[in-house]
Amino acid sequence: MEAQRKFIVPIGPQHPALKEPGHFQFSVEGEIVTGATVRLGYVHRGIEKGAEARNWTQNLYLFERICGICSHVHATALALGAERLAGVEAPPRAQAIRTLMSELERIHSHMLWLGVAAHEGGFETLFMYSWRDREIVMDLLESLSGNRVNYSVNLIGGVKFDVTEKHHDEILKGIEILEERTKHYLKVVTTDRTFLARTRGVGLMTLQQAELFGAVGPTARASGVARDVRIDAPYEAYPQFPVRLVTDDGGDLLARFKVRTRELFESYRLIREILNHMPPGELTTRVPRRIPAGETISRVEAPRGELFYFIKSNGSEKPERIKVRTPSLCNWASVTQVAIGHKLADMPMILSGIDPCFSCNDRMVTINRGSSSQVWTWEELRRYGIEYYRQR
């Protein structure tokens, strides 16, 4: 029996379960998965390199296109970083609008995920309904910004448009319907017997594992990791409108469903609060076209988890280097580990459980060996981090 070759089921780069190209190899014994590998890189677009040839404003739009779902947070992260380097801060009203858009985006992303995950589990009806209701928030985004995706809200130093009285009412009305529907969906995913059979106890990731694999976002929070950039390092309007942490100790797919749906309620609450306490004032401040030299990091909470930007400016109109670490990249490791021991039929659901985004992972790394590189120990890195934050 030892001579028996492994039976490998390839999934991707083109496969009905994947909406974006990625390649997975599951070695199976019967229906049980015994090993899993991921290969990414089919949609490398050279964005980080492209950034060096564009000015700061143009880069907003380039980075917005890293991900079609969480486009706004990418632009926000870049804008926040650039503003910090320039030593300015967007006016309070602009920050509130950015936050509002972030939360609307989170709703649209989580609703989309709910549908996709249900589809992977073969629950087409839930898929259709959640996407039908997602249209409400898409329409809101469209009526606010003029675009359904890639809303291009940000400018460096502010936002492009205001939220009028009419929008105020429109959003509140939309949110109300959505809240009603979300309650229903939460009930469906937590009580439907057939669906529970596919989610409960599947893809279990313990707290220790989540810490070890460096999981972020709702995926980590579903394993009980209390980590949310909106709470740990509030940015924009989050200090004024604090977020309540949503975690679950389940660690399985069911917990991920619960965490994401409950985050939706949190978003609804935040949106109401922001709308009712919208600070008055300007929408933009002046930011010089040339951003002063320096480097900074900028962290925001994307719908999928922590989004990290490293930004370096050399004082010209164009950035010198922008490095992006997207949340999906942090979550991949968990998939390949968690998959082992599960049935092949569970793979699509485990995959979609982290709400993967493929194109935002794809980047190229060139390692220069033998150059003047430094290796830091964890302790040194930690000290540097503490020092860095003290200086800010």
Partner: protein
């Protein structure tokens, strides 16, 4: 919570007696929101030729062709197929020459020609096109 079978029963029965949520698009067009970022339009009368709009366009979708700088004769060449509809140019223009039309948004075509649009005073556009035709004469249909 109690575990049940067929939790969406109410939904599907209600749907049976409700109009489908699907919009039959080409037959049925929803009114567009006021802020819809549709086709870009340019008003030549106010333009000063400052080129600020061009500088920040992320996709090089607009070009300002200067015919006569003193007499303020400009033609704006707009490439719909490159435009990302981000409205950065609209924000940049201090004289409010640029605008995004909320009615024209069905901008699909089977070939590339209709995507290059010339804006400007009629005589300026005619002059430019004529000049281009003259320059291109002899060469066999070279794309710009």
């Amino acid at each position: 919570m109690k575990i049940r079978l067929g939790t969406m029963f109410g939904d599907i029965i209600r749907s049976l007696f409700r109009r489908p949520a699907t919009q039959l698009y080409p037959y049925e067009r929803r009114p567009t929101p006021e802020r819809l970022r549709g086709n870009l339009v340019w008003d030549p009368s106010k333009c000063t030729g400052c080129q600020l709009c061009i500088k920040d366009c992320p996709s090089d979708a607009i070009e300002l062709i200067v015919l006569d700088k003193v007499a303020k004769k400009f033609v704006l060449r707009y490439h719909q197929d490159r435009c990302t509809y981000c409205a950065q140019c609209v924000v940049n223009c201090r004289f409010k020459c640029l605008n995004m039309d909320d009615q024209t948004w069905e901008l699909a075509s089977v070939n590339k020609e209709p995507f290059t649009v010339y804006y400007g005073k009629d005589e300026d556009v005619a002059f430019l096109l004529e000049k281009m035709a003259r320059d291109n004469a002899g060469e066999s249909g070279c794309p710009e």
